[in-house]
Symmetry: C2
Subunit: 365 residues, 2 copies
DNA sequence: CCACTTATGACACCAGCTTACGTATGTCGA
DNA sequence: TCGACATACGTAAGCTGGTGTCATAAGTGG
């Protein structure tokens, strides 16, 4: 139900700017004629659009390429360094910040541990410090940051406020987006961590080719992010994917049980080595996970189920039993794969969210 | 991720045709000047668009309205009778067909009982016969039907084939859309019944104002339909919402238990009258339903949960306990309301699906 | 019959896209 | 070195579609 507004000639220019810009970014350094061919627009139109984009600082002209046949073509490139965004994960144990250019290329990472029991203001302070350090360390002026996005566990509403956190002390009620906006004095967004990880996976991870995706983030708790039609689905209050809170699903218990005495990593390692008890324990964990995952899968019927977070790094030791249990529960279970990211998935997703915002702005809504 | 194509001038005309047509249909009989005001387009543009639509047969000019001040304005109206669609429910016990014009006004209903154990070919034959009778009875030429849509229990894939049916004998594998296309020799669509009921509810039922919606259809089995952003979400294989198949959810058992000895209607009636045993039984049923419903609600976090189907007609006798159990299970449970339709919801949704198709065609994709 | 109201019709104008064609600027081979 | 060739540029003409303006038409009311 897109709001449908009447179009005058300027709408055409907007559409064609969009088309041209996309093509330019996809092709890299390109000539006018080539851009005309791939977009289906005339050379003149492309040129006019590129002039405009050049004036706005988004496109740069490079010296002509010599050595080829015929008159050398003017060459253009997208200026990925015209602006930057920062993506931040404000997690339970640590804060991760990523500085990226408009192409989403990460220029600098910054991490800092935060004690699990830290108060909200300490955690926020650490997050701000880390984000600023990330930018300062890269030698970039702070005003070059166009947008910031932050991901955090818990339910984050549409305004970017944490409306419920069950894991971080004092976290419920924190206006994460509002505070993050203060770091660089720019627009700021906030969302649930699993949601952002799902975005990242669709952008540059294991789910590049699909449009409907469920991402399950396995950590101290287990959360889920949902992409439908390639777009984040957050739900009415940002609580979409919070299946883990359903008692029957038992995710909370599963997470607790897994690491009852030994650390989770040790259990997975032992299971990989063939330790019977450990294998059984992983299998139990997988069985519990499968209940919630199948509820998600049966509801959404996604193209793909991606597992991420600390425990997902165990790989097939966990994935194989999970696949087995899922197949038992679901009519036709989706494909299950591991996240393509290590512990930077959430920050990458935050980068993507910030870029989405910036790209909308770039083209004047 | 819309496919983005370059725009020439004809794109503008398409957009403005869309805008004008919508406004015209919303306003009813209208003048040029008024249409210009409400669309934000100039009178000239509106006139040109309307001329074109008139030639194509979608718009009719009416005689000017006399008696008002000033020069009488030309008056235009959408021709809802330019084409028609048929929506069909192919259910377990009956077939329901609805004939509607382009405004979605139902011109004729037709119903026929079908024994639950009927073979697939009998059921299909009954469906075709009912659809044809519906149109013939209204005195409408069969070639005036532009599209047909059919809804049926079970999983229906994107091509309109029933890929899995657990209730109707021989139903798995039936190419419902393909066969329905033969009835009138027009394009035909098919989808799961709960999905269509959800569409109907969003169109003209209890969910008009919301964009994310879960609809639970309570019948011999319980199925669910999901609307996200006002659009049907069917999933990879059309299996979205099939949470009822999850054993932990226990919907199948719940449906069986409810009507163990007495009929379900009697149980609800007794509960309404205050019969303790019946109240307990409805409560148990509601409790079971709530598990699946909460899984759906926690996954999607919809604006609204609509209950439909035979059992939903019991009203608050069922809804109240369901709301109570939902509130226990969900972080913030969605509002729960009953369907606005009786047993015509699925056919109405089928009409809507067919109209969606027709409207896309009308504007040239 | 005249003043007033409201919509129409015709005209000029603008933005934006396309096609066509001549021209500029390089490479390649004799 | 020079002409043939290839390729891209620059300009102009023409189309579509949308907007604003202004005189005019066609009613009502006194």
């Amino acid at each position: 139900m897109t709001e449908l507004r009447p179009g005058d000639a300027s709408l055409l220019r907007k559409v064609n700017t969009q088309v041209t810009l996309r093509a330019l970014r996809r092709e890299g350094v390109t000539t006018l004629t080539r851009l005309g061919r791939v977009t289906g627009l005339s050379r003149q139109t492309v040129e006019a659009v590129l002039d405009e984009l050049g004036e706005r600082g988004y496109v740069r002209e490079l010296p002509p390429d010599e050595g080829a046949m015929g008159r050398p073509a003017r060459r253009f490139a997208f200026r990925a360094d015209a602006g930057h965004v920062v993506g931040v994960e404000v997690g339970g144990d640590a804060v991760v910040a990523a500085l990226a250019d408009l192409d989403g290329e990460v220029i600098a990472w910054e991490r800092a541990p935060v004690p699990g029991g830290a108060a909200a203001h300490e955690r926020l302070e650490a997050a701000g410090r880390t984000a600023l350090k990330c930018v300062d360390g890269a030698g970039l002026a702070r005003r070059r940051i166009w947008a910031v996005a932050a991901g955090t566990p818990g339910i984050v509403d549409r305004t970017g406020r944490v409306s419920l956190s069950l894991t971080l002390p004092g976290w419920t009620g924190v206006d994460l987006a509002g505070l993050a906006g203060g770091w660089f004095g720019c627009t700021a967004l906030a969302a649930n961590d699993a949601n952002l990880a799902a975005l990242a996976e669709h952008w540059r991870g294991s789910a590049r080719h699909v449009s409907d995706l469920v991402y399950v983030l396995l950590g101290h708790r287990a959360g889920a992010g949902i992409l439908i039609g390639g777009r984040l689905h957050q739900g009415r209050r940002g609580a979409a994917g919070e299946i883990g809170t359903l008692r029957q699903v038992g995710w909370e218990r599963a997470v607790r049980e897994l690491a009852e005495d030994a650390s989770a990593a040790e259990v997975f390692k032992a299971a990989l080595a063939g330790d019977r008890a450990a294998v059984r324990r992983v299998d139990r964990y997988a069985e519990h996970l499968a209940v919630g995952a199948s509820a998600l899968a049966l509801t959404v019927d996604p193209d793909l189920l991606v597992l991420g977070g600390a425990h997902a790094r165990a790989g097939d030791v966990l994935l194989d039993p999970l696949r087995r249990h899922l197949a038992e529960l679901c009519v036709n279970a989706p494909e299950v794969v591991a996240s393509a990211f290590g512990d930077e998935g959430v920050a990458m997703g935050a980068v993507r969210l910030a870029l989405d915002h910036v790209e909308r702005e770039m083209l004047g809504l």
